[in-house]
C-alpha cells in the first residue's frame, strides 16, 4: 500500500469515528415526558448545523493562522524579527521610557470605550506575563491561576473596607505580597513532587478559594465587595479616572515586562530553564530545584495578585467570579497561543484572545457560548501542531517535542 492511500484511510477512519461518537450529541434531541418519566430520542439536524456553522469557520481561521506562522518561519528571515526587536527594546531604558510616554499620551486621544478595552488588555497582559514565569520558564502547569488574581483583588478590597482611604498605589505591593505568600503555601506540599500534581492542586485551590469567599460574610458572599471611591484609581488634574487607569496599566505592563525579562536572563532565570529542560539533570548540577520552583511559582502568583489589585482598583468591585476556571483557562490559552516562554508571544496572545472575542461579541452573539470551546481547542491544537506557540522559538519547539 502506498503511503498516501494509507494516510487517506487513517484520516477517513478517524473522521468516521468522530462522527459516530458525536452523533448522539449533535444530531439528536432528548425529549422527557414529565408525566411518565419516560424519555425519547428524535433526529434533529438543526442542532448540528448550528454547531458546525460556528465551529468549522473557527477552526479554518485557526488553522490558517498556524499555517501562516509556519510559513513565516520557513520563508521569513532567519533571525526571529519580533523576538530580537523585543529584546533590544527591553534592554534600552530610554526606548522603554519613550514608548511608555507615547502610550500614556495617546490615552488623551482615546475614547472611553477604547480606554476601557486598553485597560483590560493591560490587565490580561500582566496575568499572562505572570503565568508565563511558571509555565514558560519553569515548565510547570498551573490550572487555577485565577485564584491568585482573586487573592490580590480580595486582599485590596478587604483592606480598603476596613481602612478607608487606603490608596490604590499601595494596593499593588499589597496584592503582590498576599498572593505570593498564598502561592508559597499552596506550592509547598506539591512542588516537591512531579509537575502534574501542581496542576491539579491549583485547580482544586481555585475552587476552594471561590467557595471560601462565597461563604465568608466579610467578603460579601456572592455579591462581592464594592471598593470605596477613595481607594479606586482616580483621575489626577486634567486626567479622567479612565485615563489614569490606562496610564497606570501601561506602566505596570512595562515594569513587569522588564522585570520578567531581567529575571529570565539572570542566574535564577537560567536555573529555571535548566529545570524546565531536565529536572533530574538540573538537580545533579547542584541547582536547588524545589526552592527555585517555589520561587518561580510564588513570583507568578504575586504578579497575578498585582493584576488583581489593578483590576479591583479600576473597576471598583470584586466578586467570586474572578476566581473561576474560565478565567484560568483564558490566561492559560493566551500563554500557550502566543508562545510560552516568549515575552512578545504572551503579550500578543493576551491582546489577541481578549480583543477578538470582545470586539466580535456584537457581530456574532454566539461567541460568548463558544469561547471556551475554542480556547480548549487552542490548547490541544497548539500542542499537536505548533507547541512553541505562534511567536515561540524553534529551540523551545525541539524541547517540547522531545526525542520520542
Amino acid at each position: 500500500m502506498t503511503g498516501r492511500s494509507r494516510l487517506v484511510r487513517r484520516w477517513s477512519a478517524g473522521l468516521a469515528g468522530i462522527f459516530l461518537l458525536t452523533a448522539p450529541f449533535l444530531w439528536t434531541k432528548v425529549h422527557g415526558d414529565l408525566a411518565t418519566g419516560n424519555v425519547r430520542l428524535s433526529f434533529v439536524p438543526s442542532n448540528a448545523l448550528g454547531f458546525l456553522s460556528v465551529v468549522v469557520p473557527g477552526f479554518a481561521i485557526g488553522a490558517s493562522l498556524v499555517w501562516m506562522a509556519g510559513l513565516w518561519g520557513r520563508l521569513g528571515p532567519r533571525r526571529p524579527l519580533v523576538a530580537t526587536a523585543a529584546n533590544r527594546l527591553l534592554e534600552r531604558p530610554w526606548a522603554l521610557l519613550a514608548l511608555g510616554a507615547a502610550l500614556s499620551c495617546s490615552g488623551t486621544l482615546m475614547s472611553a470605550k477604547a480606554l476601557s478595552l486598553g485597560s483590560f488588555v493591560c490587565l490580561y497582559m500582566m496575568l499572562a506575563l505572570g503565568l508565563n514565569v511558571t509555565i514558560g520558564f519553569t515548565g510547570l502547569l498551573v490550572l487555577g491561576y485565577a485564584a491568585f488574581y482573586a487573592t490580590g483583588a480580595y486582599a485590596f478590597a478587604l483592606v480598603a473596607k476596613f481602612l478607608p482611604g487606603f490608596p490604590a498605589w499601595a494596593a499593588f505591593p499589597l496584592g503582590f505580597c498576599t498572593a505570593a505568600a498564598t502561592g508559597f503555601l499552596v506550592g509547598l506540599p506539591c512542588l516537591r513532587l512531579r509537575g502534574d500534581y501542581l496542576a491539579i492542586v491549583t485547580l482544586g485551590f481555585a475552587e476552594a478559594f471561590r467557595e471560601l469567599v462565597r461563604n465568608l460574610p466579610a467578603a460579601g458572599g456572592d455579591m462581592g465587595l464594592i471598593l470605596p471611591d477613595t481607594s479606586r484609581i482616580r483621575g489626577l488634574g486634567p486626567l479622567s479616572a479612565a485615563q489614569a487607569a490606562w496610564i497606570c496599566g501601561v506602566w505596570l505592563v512595562l515594569l513587569l515586562s522588564v522585570s520578567v525579562h531581567r529575571l529570565r536572563h539572570s542566574r535564577t532565570g537560567r536555573a529555571w530553564i535548566a529545570i524546565r529542560e531536565d529536572e533530574t539533570a538540573a538537580a545533579m548540577m547542584g541547582i536547588p530545584v524545589v526552592r527555585l520552583k517555589l520561587l518561580a511559582f510564588s513570583i507568578s502568583a504575586g504578579v497575578g495578585g498585582l493584576a488583581g489589585a489593578y483590576f479591583a482598583g479600576f473597576t471598583g468591585f470584586v466578586d467570586p467570579s474572578t476566581s473561576t476556571f474560565d478565567q484560568s483557562v483564558l490566561v492559560l490559552s493566551m500563554v500557550i497561543l502566543g508562545g510560552m516562554g516568549s515575552l512578545p508571544g504572551v503579550l500578543a496572545g493576551a491582546a489577541l484572545l481578549y480583543l477578538v472575542p470582545t470586539l466580535l461579541r456584537d457581530q456574532i452573539p454566539q461567541i460568548a457560548d463558544y469561547r471556551l470551546f475554542f480556547f480548549g481547542s487552542i490548547l490541544v491544537a497548539m500542542m499537536l501542531l505548533r507547541p512553541q506557540g505562534l511567536l515561540g522559538s524553534p529551540r523551545h519547539k525541539l524541547e517540547l517535542e522531545g526525542s520520542g
Binding site: 506540599p189 499537536l384 524541547e399
Partner: protein, 301 residues
C-alpha cells in the same frame, strides 16, 4: 449511624470506579488523565441517549433496558476515551510533560463545552420510570436500610472490579498490560503491541467511569455538562490517597473518601463536604505523597 456508613460506602464505590481509570492510565503512562472526569460525564449522557433510543423504539419496560443502557454508555465512553488518547496523548508521548498535560486539559474543556453546546446548558432528566422504582424499594436487615439502587451500585462495582482484577491478574492481556506499565521499551522489544495496550487501558478506564456515570445519573436523577469536573477532582483525590498507579489502592481510596465525606457532612456542615476531598488531597501530598498503598519511586534519568 449505619445509614451514614451505607451511604458513604455507596458514594465511595462510585469514586473507586472512577479512580480506577486515573490509576490505570497513570500506571501505564505515568501521566494524569485530565479528561477523565469529562469521560465520566459523557457516560452519564450516554445512558440517557440509550434509554431514549430504546424508548423511541418502544422497548422500555423490558427487564433488559437498564443493562443495555449501561453497556451502551460504557461503549460510548470507551470510544471517547480512545479518541482522547489518540488526540491528546499519543503524539506527545515522548514530549516534555507539559505538552500532554496541556493538551489533555484542553481536551477536557473541549468535551465539556461540546456537550454544553450540542445538548443543553441546563440539566437533562434521567427517566424516572427506570430510576424511581430502584430508589424507592428499600430492604431492611435489622437496623440496616439499603435501597435497591445502592444494592445495584455495590453489585455492579464488585462485578466490574472483579472482572478487572481477573483481566489484569489472570489473562495474557493482563500480563502484557503489567509488562508495559513496568517497562514500555522492553515490552515492545518483547513483541507486545504497546500502542494497542495503551489504547485498551484508556478504553477500560473510560468504560468503568461510564458505569459509574450511569449509577450517579440514577442516584441524582439529573445530569449536567459540568458534572465531571467535581467528580473528577474527588476521584483523583481518591486515587492519590490510595497511591496513584496502584489498583487496590484506588478502590481503598475511593471507599475512604466516600466515607469521610459522608461523615463530615453529617457531623460538621454539609457545605464543607465539597472541600473535604481537596483537604485530604493536600494532606496526602504533604505527608505521604506515594499514598497509602503506593511505593516510593525515584525519578529515573
Amino acid at each position: 449511624m449505619l445509614e451514614i456508613l451505607v451511604n458513604g460506602l455507596a458514594r465511595g464505590a462510585i469514586y473507586a470506579l472512577i479512580a480506577l481509570g486515573y490509576t490505570m492510565v497513570y500506571g501505564i503512562l505515568g501521566m494524569i488523565n485530565f479528561a477523565h472526569g469529562e469521560i465520566f460525564m459523557i457516560g452519564m449522557f450516554g445512558s440517557i441517549f440509550a434509554l431514549g433510543a430504546l424508548g423511541s423504539a418502544g422497548l422500555v419496560g423490558a427487564g433488559l433496558t437498564l443493562p443495555i443502557a449501561i453497556v451502551a454508555a460504557m461503549a460510548l465512553s470507551a470510544g471517547f476515551g480512545i479518541l482522547n488518547e489518540r488526540l491528546a496523548y499519543r503524539k506527545l508521548r515522548g514530549a516534555h510533560l507539559l505538552a500532554p498535560l496541556t493538551s489533555a486539559i484542553g481536551m477536557s474543556i473541549v468535551l465539556q463545552n461540546f456537550v454544553m453546546l450540542s445538548v443543553t446548558k441546563g440539566k437533562l432528566d434521567f427517566p424516572r420510570e427506570i430510576s424511581a422504582p430502584l430508589a424507592q424499594t428499600k430492604w431492611s436487615v435489622g437496623p440496616l436500610h439499603v435501597t435497591a439502587l445502592q444494592t445495584l451500585i455495590f453489585a455492579l462495582t464488585l462485578a466490574l472490579m472483579g472482572g478487572l482484577f481477573w483481566l489484569i491478574q489472570k489473562t495474557r492481556v493482563g500480563v502484557a498490560l503489567r509488562a508495559v506499565a513496568q517497562d514500555r521499551t522492553m515490552a515492545s522489544l518483547c513483541g507486545m503491541r504497546v500502542d494497542g495496550l495503551i489504547t485498551l487501558t484508556f478504553a477500560l478506564g473510560s468504560a468503568l467511569a461510564a458505569a459509574a456515570g450511569t449509577m450517579v445519573a440514577m442516584y441524582q436523577g439529573v445530569v449536567r455538562f459540568d458534572a465531571g469536573y467535581e467528580m473528577g477532582l474527588k476521584a483523583f483525590a481518591a486515587a492519590v490517597l490510595g497511591g496513584i498507579g496502584n489498583i487496590p489502592g484506588a478502590v481503598l481510596g475511593g471507599l475512604l473518601i466516600g466515607l469521610v465525606e459522608d461523615v463530615t457532612s453529617y457531623t460538621i456542615r454539609s457545605e464543607w463536604r465539597e472541600s473535604t476531598s481537596f483537604a485530604i488531597l493536600i494532606l496526602v501530598l504533604w505527608l505521604r505523597p506515594h499514598g497509602l498503598l503506593g511505593e516510593r519511586v525515584a525519578d529515573k534519568v
